[in-house]
């Protein structure tokens, strides 16, 4: 590969979807039936480029497999702005690393340099491939799904712009650009949730998603400010100035090589918590998860792309990217894990009683993202790579499940309530089979994708909870947070040597950390992680239960179709079911299918099976591809340990404190058995309750008693947040409005009368306007002169 090719490809990956989006916006309706072409071609080419990048980003950066060196390539497109002497760091602070920030001849001030820089490293390459490939499949699927929608240009333009923004988000090498594109994907998400903005539910859901995300964005903004004040730069990478000096970036190799380069303590914990707040908003973690279920009001392909596979993983990416910042704040890490495991459990519990197929999947997404956060919070190399591994497999099978749900919805004329249809495997064999594969992957049944990634997450949690059980040979003389000595040792040990388990993990050993102690560090004990491990195991069982409950309700039992299904030919979106666009009926007539007069959902046998049918090939082929991927990707990546070794060269994961936690890859048979057992129990319970039964029959939920209300009302999160956040804010707004009307408006009116009065005075002298103007001007100049003379004689 020529040396400049990776850089060119890296620029092309976001650029091509951007061009596709612009072409769609500009030409839009003129493209007629080929309106999807720019998006499909642009994202398709970007996928090819991302595949090549994966090759380019490979390797261990020149290091050994055990101690990979950071591998990164940065491309500075242009210098956006430079603000000279923007910060004057205190000597000895991380912003002025001794021996590193050499060169500047003046007082050591540093410019705020805002460059548009893209980066390529294994983490970015992985994310780019996930984003573009899922984006491509979703775009192809949408050709069928959005076929009859009059606003197709808007949809494809938004999807292209989303892929562009998301690619930029993961390829940016500066916190400022990350912030910019963090907002950009939020805006795309807002516009796609509210795609059918004439429906009040969609508009409301879009607004809710936007506002809840703003809370998280606020955290990101604070984090960026704090990072700037602490580190004196916003770049990830080291920058070489023209005079050859190196300005160390926040996640650059210079700082990574320095054991004391990252700030722990109160400030470090605060930064990490702000980043976590941001990640919680985007990735729908408790308590900011409330927007994601409502976001299902958008078109299903958009849900699959944005609200299942890619955008919601931005938080996971952010935490993984900032791994060196987190590992020096064990307290913040513990909070990450706690939030993640709690979210996983709560969302899974809520998911068990949902009746809307898409909402089951939405809660499942929240729950799986919780898994990823729990894994990230372990702060180990295995934990970080397991989270990204689960991110990749989850993107595959969750996109598959969402697109399958979209296929069902498409065929059912927009009905998505599982109680109103059943036995669909008879009419939609491909959708049913692929959905089944996706469910097995989600439930964690071996050898499907979810099994392997979930196993690694459980293993990472287990390793923190029971460090002794993981071959822990303790090097008591080694400090915990990866001081240089530990790094060298870790790099020198051959692969057969016993892994290093830092002493601080053992609940009994006092932690002799060189870092400042953060305010929350008392949280990070083995006991917490033991609890989180059990929570995750229970969640695994619940996941299998609600997934197969959905499968059994939708695809097994007697065939039943809702009356809307008869109108579902021609591929219009679910909005038609709500009668807002009103071309659903037209489609039914023109396609000439004989609709069954008695297809009213409760007489299964009488339904004319021809009324409903499998989705067109343009929709089912992406399903088949994704099903194939869900089948093999977990096994493939696990058996080769490919992803773990690949990601290990990511600069962020080569921080000494992360590398110190490296353990040789292993298959944990005991954990695998526990996980599989949990899944089996869940599936068995679902089968007892729902297999072969009518989906509207009374089910297992009736045994839950009052808990069912709790779950069905989603733990009252919406109500609590309404009472705790929204209501006080509304009161404040009401009060502010009152003050504004009475006090401010009064003042403004009073002030506004001044220019009016002034104007009256001027207008009174309007007759001799020229002379007055001259007089006023000369008088003003004289006044200035007098003032100057007076000042001089002072």
């Amino acid at each position: 590969m020529p040396p400049n090719l990776p850089a060119t490809l890296l620029v092309l990956v976001p650029l091509l979807p951007l061009l596709a989006g612009l072409v769609t916006i500009v030409f839009g309706r003129r493209l007629g039936p080929r309106v999807h072409m720019p998006a499909v071609i642009g994202i398709g080419a970007a996928t090819g480029a991302a595949l090549l990048l994966l090759v380019a980003a490979g390797g261990t950066g020149g290091g050994t497999h055990e101690a990979p060196r950071p591998a990164e390539t940065t491309v500075t497109l242009w210098q956006w702005a430079t603000i000279d002497r923007a910060i004057d760091p205190q000597p000895g602070s991380p912003a002025a690393l001794p021996g590193i920030a050499v060169g500047s001849t003046d007082s050591g001030t540093r410019p705020l340099s805002l460059a548009v820089t893209l980066r390529l490293d294994p983490l970015t390459a992985t994310m780019l491939l996930v984003i573009t490939s899922i984006g491509l499949l979703v775009a192809i699927y949408s050709i069928g799904y959005m076929h009859d929608d009059p606003d197709q240009p808007r949809f494809f333009a938004l999807v292209s712009m989303f892929v562009f923004s998301m690619a930029m988000l993961v390829a940016s090498s500066s916190f400022l650009l990350v912030y910019v594109f963090w907002e950009a994907v939020g805006a795309c998400s807002y516009l796609l949730i509210g795609f059918w903005f004439r429906r009040p539910e969609a508009a409301r859901a879009a607004k809710k998603a936007f506002l809840v995300n703003r809370v998280g964005d606020f955290g990101l903004a604070i984090a960026v400010f704090l990072l700037w004040l602490t580190y004196g730069t916003l770049d990830f990478h080291d920058v070489r100035a023209t005079d050859g000096t190196i300005l160390p970036g926040i996640l650059g190799q210079t700082r990574l090589a320095d054991a004391g380069g990252f700030v722990g303590g109160t400030v470090g914990t605060l930064i990490c918590l702000c980043l976590l707040l941001a990640a919680s908003g985007k990735s729908a973690q408790v308590p900011l998860h409330v927007w994601l279920p409502d976001a299902m009001e958008g078109p299903t392909p958009a849900s699959a792309l944005i609200h299942a596979a890619t955008m919601v993983t931005a938080g996971v990416y952010l935490v993984a990217r900032c791994a060196p910042l987190f590992v020096v704040s064990p307290g913040a890490l513990a909070v990450v894990s706690l939030v993640g495991a709690t979210t996983a459990l709560v969302a899974a519990l809520i998911g068990t009683v949902q009746t809307d197929l898409k909402r089951v999947l939405a809660y499942s997404t929240i729950s799986q993202l919780g898994y990823m956060f729990a894994s990230l919070g372990t702060g180990t190399l295995a934990g970080f790579t397991a989270a990204i591994f689960h991110l990749v497999t989850h993107a595959c099978f969750k996109a598959l499940l969402f697109l399958g749900a979209g296929s069902v919805m498409h065929a059912m004329g927009g009905v998505i309530d599982m109680r109103r249809f059943g036995g669909l495997r008879a009419v939609m064999p491909i959708t049913a089979a692929t959905f089944f594969v996706g469910s097995l992957a989600l439930a964690g049944v071996p050898p499907f994708a979810g099994f392997f990634s979930k196993d690694e997450i459980l293993a990472a949690l287990h390793a923190r909870g029971w460090p002794d059980a993981h071959g822990g040979v303790h090097h008591d003389h080694e400090p915990a947070a990866g001081a240089p000595a530990a790094v060298r040792t870790a790099r020198l040990v051959p692969s057969t040597a016993a892994p290093v388990v830092p002493a601080a993990w053992r609940s009994t050993a006092p932690a002799a950390t060189p870092q400042a102690v953060g305010p929350l560090d008392w949280l990070a004990g083995a006991g917490l992680y033991r609890g989180l491990f059990w929570m995750s195991l229970i969640t695994a069982g619940l996941t299998a239960f609600y997934t197969f409950r959905a499968v059994f309700m939708t695809f097994t039992g007697p065939l039943r179709l809702p009356p809307e299904a008869a109108h579902a030919h021609g591929g219009h979106g679910p909005d038609d079911a709500h009668g807002t666009h009103g071309h659903g009926q037209r489609g039914h007539e023109s396609h000439g299918h004989a609709s069954a007069p008695n297809a009213h959902g409760h007489t299964a046998a009488a339904v004319d099976a021809a009324a409903s049918h499998e989705s067109p090939p343009v929709m089912t082929r992406p399903l088949v591809i994704l099903a194939g991927a869900s089948l093999v990707i977990g096994w493939l990546l696990f058996a080769t340990h490919g992803l773990g070794g690949f990601l290990a060269a990511t600069p962020s994961l080569t921080a000494p404190a992360v590398v110190a936690t490296r353990v040789p890859p292993a298959f944990h048979l005991d954990l695998a058995i526990q996980g599989t057992l949990a899944a089996a129990i869940g599936i068995a319970l679902a089968a007892i309750g729902h297999l072969g039964r009518r989906s509207d029959a009374p089910s297992l939920e009736r045994f839950l008693g009052p808990l069912q209300t709790l779950f069905a009302r989603r733990f009252f999160f919406d109500e609590i947040e309404h009472a705790v956040v929204v209501r006080p804010l509304e009161s404040l707004a009401w009060f502010a409005a009152l003050v504004d009307r009475v006090v401010i408006d009064g003042l403004v009116d009073a002030v506004a009368r001044v220019p009016a009065a002034l104007g009256d005075i001027v207008r009174r002298g309007q007759a001799g306007v020229l002379q007055r103007y001259s007089l006023a001007g000369v008088a003003g100049v004289l006044a200035v002169l007098l003032a100057l003379a007076w000042q001089l004689w002072q």
Partner: protein, 582 residues
């Protein structure tokens, strides 16, 4: 002073080209039936741009009363660029009439274009002038053609009134400025700027006494001359009346090119009092001039921006509103001048490239950068208004042919985003830039102005620092006030439905000018760095921060910009060296 030689003509080639083009336009219109005078103007400006580009000299070329250095080159480029944009706007429907051979509307374009070219030549001369007489002549060559253009472009009573008002008030301002020039001559005993600067900085007691007496007069009166051109308090009164009474194209001219002249005059004045790095420390008269100049400009800045913005809040006529806004922007520009003159004389600062001089350069550079971004955005708005032209008439049976009404009020723009999305987008983007919304260039301009103000005496908390912190706060508060009336226009365009619509009969030239301004704004949004570096370098030259021979502006004190210039900077995996680990 070097004698005038043939080299002078070589250096003046761009200005001479402009004058020749003006003559072609005049004579062609009078004798050869030339209809497309503005086309001649555009060709002339393009030729002058080429000549001035070929003339890029390193260092300084002094010949006769001229000094071509980094500053005058920047000014010349800015003049020609803004002149080209304004000419496009002014051209209006002339290109169309040149094709259709319509006799009526293009009758006076030859005269208009010629006068406009003379104006540009005068402004460019003021930029290159190294001599008070040439400076004054250049400024007059701006004022008189402006008054003529006001009269030519609009021949109704309103237009004549505007022209007369502008003419008489410019006479008043010119006479005040002339007194200031006389005082400077009295101090320096020469009209050459270098000689005046030397005398200002002298420590010879005899000269100091004369200087002390004349310095306040010279500072105050020169400031007055500049204030009129900037439309700053207390000589701002003409702006609303004149803008309202003339065409949008003329308003685009009035709000940009004279401001450039004012900034040139003020920066030259500050530069006079600053010692070059090689020279000894400043003398008494020079420091007195700086100590007098900064409070005066700071007060005028604060008053101008407040008055302008408060007046603009209640305007409904677009040109009147933008006139008030241009008064406010004059105030912003003066902030940079005040910062430059205050920082140039740091009470405890040493000679040469001390922190004070760097801060002064920051002030000068910020002023020039802000001026450029402001001018592009303002011309963009006026180009769009020219392009919009007239409202659709309300037809009725009673009046067979209703008079055409100019689209001039905020209400006339209602619903423009639906009928003319590109025009609405241009206006919105330009107004947002004027309001200083990030990441548009206006934001960078306001940021650098505020940063320059905050850099004055940044070490301690003396009274000067307090004053400049207060000035920066005033600037930010005023930017917030200004956003109110800019957003009112944007709200009208985007959130109201259209009532009558507009004809967009302003001609293709205005449309091209509008799109050009939009493209420039977009470019400066994505890459403000180049313009900023150029402005800073020009400021460094005029404020004597660097020896004029070193136009690269690279001095050891300035932080070197990171290696972002190379398109591909692949960092090779660096192995952490043991020395980096403490």
């Amino acid at each position: 002073m070097n004698p005038t030689t043939s080299a002078t003509f070589g250096l003046l080639a761009p200005e001479i080209t402009l004058v020749v083009a003006a003559l072609v336009a005049f004579l062609g219109a009078a004798f050869a039936g030339l209809r497309s005078g503005w086309l001649v103007a555009l060709v002339g400006i393009a030729a002058a741009l080429v000549l001035s580009g070929g003339q890029a000299v390193d260092g300084v070329a002094v010949s006769g009363p001229l000094a071509i250095d980094g500053f005058s080159t920047f000014v010349r480029w800015l003049v020609l660029l803004l002149g080209g944009l304004v000419a496009l706007v002014q051209a209006g429907d002339v290109f169309r009439s040149a094709v259709i051979r319509e006799p009526q509307p293009s009758a006076a374009t030859g005269e208009e274009a010629g006068v406009f070219l003379l104006l540009l030549a005068g402004l460019s001369l003021a930029g290159v002038a190294d001599d008070l007489v040439l400076l004054f002549a250049g400024l007059e060559l701006v004022s008189i053609p402006t008054a003529l253009l006001l009269a030519l472009k609009r021949t109704d009573a309103q237009g004549q009134e505007a022209s007369l008002k502008y003419f008489f008030l410019s006479l008043v301002a010119s006479s005040l400025f002339l007194y200031g020039v006389v005082c400077l001559y009295g101090i320096g005993g020469s009209t050459h700027l270098g000689a005046i600067s030397d005398r200002l900085r002298t420590t010879d007691p005899g000269t100091v006494v004369i200087g002390a007496a004349l310095v306040p007069l010279a500072v105050g009166l020169t400031l007055a001359g500049a204030a009129f051109r900037l439309a700053a308090f207390p000589l701002h009164f003409y702006a609303p009346d004149v803008y309202q009474g003339t065409s949008p194209g003329n308003a685009a001219l009035l709000s940009t090119l004279p401001k450039l002249a004012g900034v040139v005059v003020l920066l030259r004045l500050v530069g006079l009092a600053i010692a070059p790095p090689t020279a000894p420390a400043a003398g008494y008269a020079a420091t007195a001039a700086l100590d007098l100049l900064w409070p005066a400009t700071a007060v005028l800045a604060a008053v101008s921006m407040t008055i302008g913005n408060v007046m603009a809040l209640r305007q409904n006529n677009l040109r009147r509103l933008l006139a008030c806004s241009s008064i406010a922007h004059a105030g912003y520009l003066l902030v940079g001048i005040a910062a430059a003159s205050a920082a140039a004389h740091a009470p405890n600062g040493g000679t040469g490239l001390a922190g004070g001089t760097l801060a002064a350069i920051a002030g000068g550079g910020a002023t020039l950068f802000y001026l450029a971004t402001y001018a592009v955005a303002t011309i963009g708005v006026f180009a769009a208004l020219t392009y919009i032209g007239h409202r659709w008439p309300e037809w009725s049976a009673a009046v067979p042919r209703p008079p055409r009404e100019e689209a001039a009020s905020v209400a006339d723009l209602e619903g423009l985003s639906g009928t003319n999305p590109v025009v609405a987008f241009t206006i919105a983007l330009c107004l947002l830039s004027l309001a200083g919304i990030p990441p548009l260039p206006g934001f960078w301009g306001k940021l650098s102005l505020a940063a320059a103000a905050l850099e004055v005496d940044a070490g301690g908390w003396g009274p000067r620092r307090l004053a400049f912190v207060a000035l920066a706060v005033t600037l930010v508060v005023n930017a917030a006030i200004a956003a109110a009336y800019y957003l009112r226009i944007i709200a009208a365009m985007y959130f109201r439905s259209t009532t009558r619509g507009v004809q967009t009969d302003g001609g293709i030239g205005a449309g091209v000018g509008m799109v050009a301004c939009l493209a420039l704004l977009g470019f400066f949004t994505l890459r403000p760095q180049g313009l900023f570096t150029a402005a800073r370098r020009a400021g460094a030259v005029v404020l004597r921060g660097v020896p004029a021979t070193d136009t690269a502006g690279h001095h050891p004190g300035a932080p070197s910009s990171p290696a972002g210039s190379s398109a591909v900077a692949a960092l090779s995996p660096v192995s952490p060296s043991p020395s980096a680990v403490p």
